[in-house]
Amino acid sequence: MNALREKARELLATKTVQVVIGYAPGSGGAARALFVREAAQAGELVFDETCLQNLAAYLMKPEVRRLGRAALVARPATLRTILQLAAENQLAESSLLALVPGADGVLSLSTFSAIEAHVAAQDNDLSAAEKSELEKFAAMGLDERREFWQEQFSRCLKCYACRAACPLCYCTRCTVECNQPQWIPVPAHDLGNLEWNVMRAMHLAGRCTNCGDCSRACPVGIPLYLLNQKLCSDVLSSFNQRSGMAARADHSLSTFKPDDPEDFIR
């Protein structure tokens, strides 16, 4: 933690970056995001197992972008998010620097290729617990699955907290806000909730980097990560592509490659 504070201090003092986005203790035992803009403030930074939020979401906010070059305290999913955003033409390489706290100090990754190398070396697979939960879900019959989600979505309030937390929900105009015509109904009724959540899951298919922030943000505890993980694993098995592995990558769902496995068509 001290190494991280030291690094932040140095980056700000040398004006290498204008802001360090990291974690500070928040309420209820959770960590919150901290924007360190003065070297003196770097001591407030913490990094421990409570620091779960994917801070890459802030990179897409215009008010954060205006601050200047940012150093981002990055967890494994954060690094993948950075690469995914880059692949979607949303990030300039010069606009950020990733700080990866580890056992022996802080790693500072200033280029996309450095991030790519780091991501390639880390374990990007789902954890054993996640896998077993997904298998349980996959084992459900179609009717059972529909019932499960209908029950889950019936509690959705359409507060859009999942969207606000998601670093890949960076659209300035979301589909639900298109009202000429209004394809997705606004009211929080069963059909509207289903359409909204399915639409969001589809928009994240092949893009989601599995940070889990949507589920943590949901005030009624809908396990949205299940939907996203399922789609991620389907994209991986169908198109042999994992999101957020490279800063220049074609989107698996919009790109035809002659060597796509495509087992589902043949």
């Binding site: 659209c171 300035t172 589909t175 074609d250 919009s254 002659p258």
Partner: protein, 671 residues
């Protein structure tokens, strides 16, 4: 307020026999916004069109719905009729109550109800239609012809003779294709090379034709009238401008035992070679795979012997970029080889050969100088069995289609054999004889009746060797499936005609569709046989389906006529039914977030990056832009855009949504 006119066509009885058109007209009249609703026997007839025109003028219609056949049939008719009155043609829509309703349902109330629903959706749509203006695209009057077989040669000559420049690309060292390998041609038995080589020479000499032989298409971008092609000119390993084609190098090359492609593997050629004496261009090429110098680093004999010092061992492939307005694909076909017929011993016994190999045996320029001698020992065969439909029309082999040329060339082969070997006994095993074509049936009958070819209706089960003879086991199905066994000296298989091995890859480069057998797909099987579904790309010859020479030539001339028609104007008018990306006033500029996932989804490379800059030149936003010349209006990008920032003109979100609502809300009307 919308004033929509609805015009319901009986289509003779095609619609009115199952749909109560009067009821449809009455129901349409009750739809809000409909100012005029009539039915008529033939709306596409002159008086029918007049009904539309008069109503537009008299009732001041703001939109027209013609409920009749598919828009693929008469949409242009009615749009032109509307335009004549001054109504924007894109304010006219077709409600397809024939293909989508009357033809596919029984007569009854439900069918009429459906017709009303279809009309209702189109009325809802046309209310949201906007006046659109056609798009004008410039045309580069240069054609690219891919493939220098007879189809490519014919297409090139026709386009060149129409006064346009042609770039002809041929993969092999010489143009000529399969036709140059043939001995004689049916049904006239004139020598193939004698009729082909004058055309080849004409190509070489034509001032409008640029020939790139030993070259392949690397990539094709762009759109009708404005393609950019990259052509890879493979290294011949010699300077073509210096080479005089004297042939000394090919005579002196020490590596001489390479099975020649031109002789279908029956003859041998050196490592530096010209495929055949009349090759165009008559310049050799070094086969680097077999050349001693490339394999061992020693030799260079050709370099020493060349009187003009034309050999270039270090030559690299060269990429040529050209701009063309149209493309004719004439890449031809291949025949099935190898272990596809284990039951016939093809590939196992040297005297079981394919039709193309027989052509070389019968050809004066072939390895036997035109004498029929079997490959194994050079003996003149006394009995020859010809097997038609080897692979073709055989679902078990995965080739359901008829290869079309085999019946005729097998008759020709048997005839040529009889002409050259007077005492010879030819047998033809066949399933059916398909000799549809001018003088074709007469040709086959001549083989049977005058030349004494024994035709046996039945299939061959097996070919095996016994005491130096090939035993052919089959059955004569016209004589009660009597089993037959013939001891033959030579077996000729009319193997199935199949697509070129690289056809799928080429189709993907060109963005044209292909069928399950990798033959390229025409835009319409009957009415648009030479066009592909990609505008500006045309088909000629056997790359589309197996074809004989007259058909290939006819299609090539057809494709050339299409190209000449395209080049007859310097600008091209296209329908404006294309995608557009949202643009708004500042400070939003566009709802596009510039993720460009649409870019890779677009099958036509129509999506570009546009940088929106302020007055000070500062970059504000990079957003997508659709190139109106390239876009084909397929809508893939629309489905892909998360922010719904792309719309198709004429099929906008608003229009489609209105159609869906019109269907969903039909209950309210019934209540």
């Amino acid at each position: 307020m919308a004033r929509i006119g609805v015009f319901i066509c009986h289509c003779g009885e095609n619609i009115s026999a199952t749909v109560d058109v009067k009821q449809v007209a009455a129901a349409a009249a009750r739809i809000p916004g409909v100012a005029h609703s009539v039915e008529y026997k033939y709306m596409c007839s002159d008086p029918g069109q007049q009904l539309v025109k008069d109503a537009i003028r008299e009732k001041g219609l703001t939109g027209v719905v013609v409920a009749a056949c598919s828009p693929r049939m008469h949409e242009p008719t009615f749009r032109r009729a509307c335009a004549e009155t001054g109504l924007n043609p894109f304010l006219c829509e077709m409600a397809n109550i024939r293909e989508h309703c009357s033809w596919v349902h029984e007569k009854g109330d439900a069918t009429t109800e459906k017709a009303i629903d279809i009309v209702r959706t189109l009325v809802a749509k046309v209310k949201k239609n906007k006046a659109l203006q056609p798009i004008q695209v410039p045309v580069t009057k240069v054609a690219l012809v891919i493939g220098g077989g007879i189809a490519g040669i014919q297409a090139s000559l026709d386009i060149a003779n129409a006064g346009h420049r042609v770039i002809l690309v041929e993969r092999e060292p010489s143009i000529g294709g399969h036709m140059s390998q043939l001995s004689e041609t049916f049904p006239t038995l004139d020598c193939s090379q004698c009729i082909l080589t004058p055309r080849m020479v004409e190509v070489a000499q034509h001032p409008n034709i640029t020939l790139y032989s030993y070259a392949e298409l690397e990539s094709l971008d762009g759109f009708i009238g404005n393609f950019k092609a990259r052509i890879r000119r493979k290294a011949r390993s010699l300077d073509e401008t210096l080479c005089t084609g004297c042939g000394l190098c090919t005579q002196k090359c020490p590596t001489r035992k390479i099975p020649g492609e031109f002789d279908a593997g029956l003859g041998l050629r050196p490592a530096i070679y010209v495929p055949f004496p009349q090759a165009v261009p008559n310049k050799p090429v070094i086969d680097r795979e077999h050349c001693t110098y490339y394999r061992t680093g020693k030799c260079r004999l050709c370099e020493k012997i060349c009187p003009t010092q034309a050999i270039r061992f270090d030559q690299l492939d060269e990429i040529v970029e050209v701009e063309v307005g149209a493309v004719v694909v004439a890449t031809g076909f291949d025949i099935k080889h190898g272990d596809f017929f284990p039951e016939y011993g093809y590939g196992k016994y040297p005297d079981v050969i394919d039709g193309l190999q027989f052509e070389r045996l019968a050809s004066a320029s072939g390895p036997t100088l035109g004498e029929i001698r079997r490959p194994s020992d050079g003996k003149v065969p006394e009995t020859v069995v010809f097997v038609a439909c080897a692979g073709s029309r055989d679902p078990a082999k995965g080739i359901e289609y008829c290869s079309k040329i085999c019946c005729m060339y097998t008759a020709k082969h048997a005839m040529l054999y009889r002409h050259k070997v007077h005492g010879g006994k030819p047998y033809v095993f066949y399933m059916d004889i398909r000799a549809g074509g001018k003088m074709y049936e007469e040709f086959v009958r001549r083989a049977m009746e005058e030349d004494g070819v024994q035709y046996v209706r039945g299939r061959i089960s097996r070919v095996f060797e016994r005491d130096g003879k090939l035993v052919v086991k089959g059955a004569d199905t016209l004589l009660g499936a009597r089993p037959m066994e013939i001891e033959a000296d030579l077996v000729v298989l009319a193997t199935a005609a199949v697509a070129q091995p690289g056809a799928e890859e080429l189709a993907q480069k060109l963005h044209v569709s292909y069928d399950a057998h990798r033959f390229f797909s025409e835009a319409h099987p009957k009415l648009r046989p030479v066009e592909t579904n990609t505008a500006g790309i045309f088909l000629a010859g056997a790359c589309q389906a197996p074809k004989d020479i007259p058909e290939s030539v006819a299609q090539a001339s057809g494709a050339a006529a299409k190209v000449a028609a395209l080049f007859s104007r310097s600008e091209l008018v296209r329908e404006p039914l294309i995608a557009v990306v949202d643009r708004q006033p500042p400070p939003v500029y566009s709802s596009c977030v510039g993720c460009f996932l649409c870019q890779s989804a677009c099958p036509y490379q129509a999506i570009e990056k546009e940088e929106i800059r302020g007055r000070d030149g500062q970059l504000i936003k990079t957003v997508a832009r659709v190139n109106p010349g390239l876009c084909q209006g397929c809508g893939t990008c629309v489905a892909f855009c998360r922010t719904k920032s792309i719309d198709i003109q004429g099929f906008s979100h608003e229009q489609v949504h209105a159609e869906v609502l019109a269907l969903l809300n039909r209950g309210e009307r019934d209540a």
